[in-house]
Subunit: 472 residues, 2 copies
């Protein structure tokens, strides 16, 4: 009879091979937001299917989207386990962010390299998706493999449904429909487990009990129907770039409070006990800022809230991209026809992405510069999610992480968004446990994204321990 | 003995061939601001050299720049004329603006097509540089040719120095040095003639007596040393795009007065007589706006000044380009390391481009967002120029245009910048006469730039008449 010791031993002696398997996955550029990578994105799904099948699960790719707007497939796997024990839904995603800006990478974004971590005996893999989310999902895949190799039934005999999405980085546009059409099967699950969040710091594992929501838009301000010479027309007509900067700059007041009417109406205030708990975590804002090349004076944000509170408990507005006019080398004296920006909002409970998007677009309309008009696009949205911190399943997960790490995990939140958690709660009544093993310094969404071998290994051990606890 | 009638007749019977010759020149993509086009830019200079030589002038290409920063050659031609008559410096440029945005063109920017002008019997050529400045220069080149073909001495026996620059659209960075090193020869000239401005309207030819100056800069705001995930970092640190929009939006107050301290200090107020004269020109702002797809509500600019006054008599600040973060398809939740803008100022007498640039950069520094730093670049500058309206030479030019057009030319200004005029005045004490034949609707610097055959022909006839008057 296989036991947890055999699974852990197999993992330990196969760690390098497992890390190399992750590299194979990272070599597939599954950039879901860019149609140019559609074939590669599918190949990344097939890679995961093969991996899960090798661990004895029943796997299929479920197509998504409509014939005129095909989506990326969902990898759906079931362990053949039966019995009265808990049924776990594991969610992850196999797609990755675009590698832009390419020039920021030391090595090719899809050409993973393993480097040592300065000042430690640890190593890390550098590639797009290294942490988010291939590396974290791979730690779970290797846990399944470890139980299989140790001679156990697939997934150690625990009932698992594994759902790997290919559109997390492009707005999960087909996920809601999938959840609705698979509601009957998915609602058999007792809880969802997601590995797509971070630890508090190296050596300080964590369980995340809240994620922010998001509303992501693209807005374009149009003026004349032709590019204009700024000599002949400068000072006579609206310049859409200048006007766009004027409007967007009004998103915040001097205290960095967002000025869209009703924006804060549904915001749940941070509870006093949370403020105290977070304060006690001893997060060093200055050290965090140093890590990204900034001094303590860069600790700026909404007035009245601390560094951590602004990430975990408060909504934000960000301009993620802006473009208009001449952006090449040298000078071109043009007043262009239009200027555009990507504007996103991170949301907290109980803000609703659709409501915020509507309020933003209405605010833009009410601030339309004379002689101009708006074109607005909703790129995607996802609700915030806060989960219960006193469930039995969360205690089981915390205990598994403690056995794997040797220390109790912290209870934290994250400023990131994992829209599926909100959907699972609202559509299926399912709670989520975020067991994440990334680090704040992993450069997620940036050039030179990385994932440490120690994190990968801790993730796999934690999942092995969690499965062991569930085997009953 | 050749007379003006023979020259005019030759022109009339060779108009189509002359327009086709212009098309040959327009096929050469002499985009001076982009080094990729360096070879083509030189080819455009050689084309002009051949044309001038065929009219009997002595021509050479004068190299510019330094060995480590080579410039585009200046075409320098001299007519062999002698005697006591006036010596004219003709200035033009053979380089063109970049064709961006390429997608705005109905046909290739360097693939000139001749189309009919709707509602008239006129025709027009559509291509980058059609008007600015190849078309206008070509009208002068064909006037020289007409005198030659009519059997006269080169340039009708008038002493001409022809200076065609290849860097007008990229800041004339080597022109000042050229003027200094050729000061002795150039100071023999009595006046400069430039064909690079517009008429008031079709059928309303004009002489321009003032151009605006320019200061053109590129500014970049830097924050973190790596791209950040807007989930983990949004609300905690400065976002350089958001901060850049906040700073640039403060360039203007609600009356669109520029807020840089001292910006208006050297500005000469528009004289009451000018206000009256301009008002009497009967320019229809609503019609101008309709021509670029805008309604009358788009007549916006500095409070207290009319549509025409804002172009001809007031300085402006414009953002000609802006870029930062993710600008591709779909969504990317990034806070980038930096964001950039091209910011230019149109200047009026007696503003100084270097002074305005210094004041702008100082204003940026004093508005540096917390945790950020600026990188600033001066791309180029040129002084404003206002010329005397009561000189004998200007009367001669006006009379030549009247003979060619059948109506007296209007005395107007332009919002564009022709830096050479200010340089000639300050370095050589030379006045300039702007005899321009473009139209406001020529889409100069925009896709589908055009030049009408009637304008081309009027320009050539006017130059023939001007030369005739100078033959004495």
């Amino acid at each position: 009879m296989a036991n947890v010791q055999s699974a852990l031993e197999w993992l330990e002696s196969n760690e390098d091979a497992a890390f190399q398997r992750l590299c194979d996955w990272l070599r597939i550029p599954s950039v879901s937001t860019d149609p140019e990578f559609n074939a590669e994105t599918r190949r990344a799904a097939e890679w995961a299917k093969d991996h899960l099948e090798a661990s004895g699960l029943d796997v299929r790719l479920v197509e998504t989207g409509a014939p005129d707007a095909p989506g990326h497939p969902i990898v759906l796997a079931e362990s053949p386990g039966s019995g009265d024990g808990p049924h776990i839904l594991f969610y992850g995603h196999y797609d990755v962010q675009p590698p832009d800006p390419i020039e920021g990478w030391r090595t090719g974004p899809f050409d993973p390299v393993i480097e040592s971590v300065e000042g430690t005996s640890d190593r890390k893999v550098v590639a797009r998706g290294a942490c988010d989310d291939k590396g974290q999902v791979a730690s779970f895949l290797e846990a399944l493999r470890a139980w299989k190799e140790a001679g156990a039934e697939p997934a150690g005999g625990v009932r698992f449904t594994v759902l790997l999405e290919g559109e997390e980085e492009s707005g999960s546009v087909n996920l809601e429909h999938f959840l609705e059409t698979h509601a009957q099967n998915l609602s058999k699950c007792d809880v969802c487990v997601i590995s797509d969040t971070a630890m508090l710091a190296p050596g300080r594992p964590a369980i995340t009990y809240g994620v922010r929501g998001i509303a992501y838009t693209e807005v374009t301000l149009h003026a004349s129907d032709q590019d204009l010479h700024s000599g002949s027309w400068g000072g006579k007509v609206p310049n859409p770039i200048s006007e766009l900067t004027k409007v967007l700059s009004k998103l915040w007041d001097g205290d960095r409070k967002i000025q869209i009417p009703g924006f804060y109406a549904a915001v749940r205030e941070i509870e006093p006990v949370e403020r105290t708990n977070w304060e006690n975590l001893g997060v060093d804002a200055a050290a965090s800022l140093r890590g990204i090349g900034l001094g303590p004076e860069a600790n700026v944000g909404e007035a009245g809230y601390s560094f951590l509170e602004r990430e975990w408990g408060r909504p934000t507005a960000e301009i993620n991209g802006i473009w208009g006019g001449y952006t090449g080398a040298g000078a071109k004296t043009v007043i262009p026809t239009h200027a555009s920006a990507k504007v996103s909002f991170r949301l907290v409970a109980d803000q609703d992405p659709d409501d915020i998007r509507d309020k933003f677009f209405a605010w833009l309309e009410s601030n339309t510069p004379e002689g101009c008009r708006w074109e607005t696009t909703d790129l995607h949205g996802g609700p915030p999610a806060t989960v219960s911190t006193d469930s039995e399943m969360l205690s089981t997960a915390a205990s598994a992480i403690e056995k794997a790490a040797g220390v109790k995990p912290e209870l934290i939140k994250t400023g990131g968004s994992i829209p599926v958690a909100g959907l699972l709660k609202s559509r299926l009544g399912l709670e989520t446990i975020f067991m994440g093993f990334g680090l704040e310094t992993d450069r997620v969404h940036s050039p030179n994204e990385e994932f440490r071998l120690s994190c990968f290994s801790l993730g796999a051990r934690s999942h092995i321990m969690f499965i062991d606890a569930l085997r009953g």
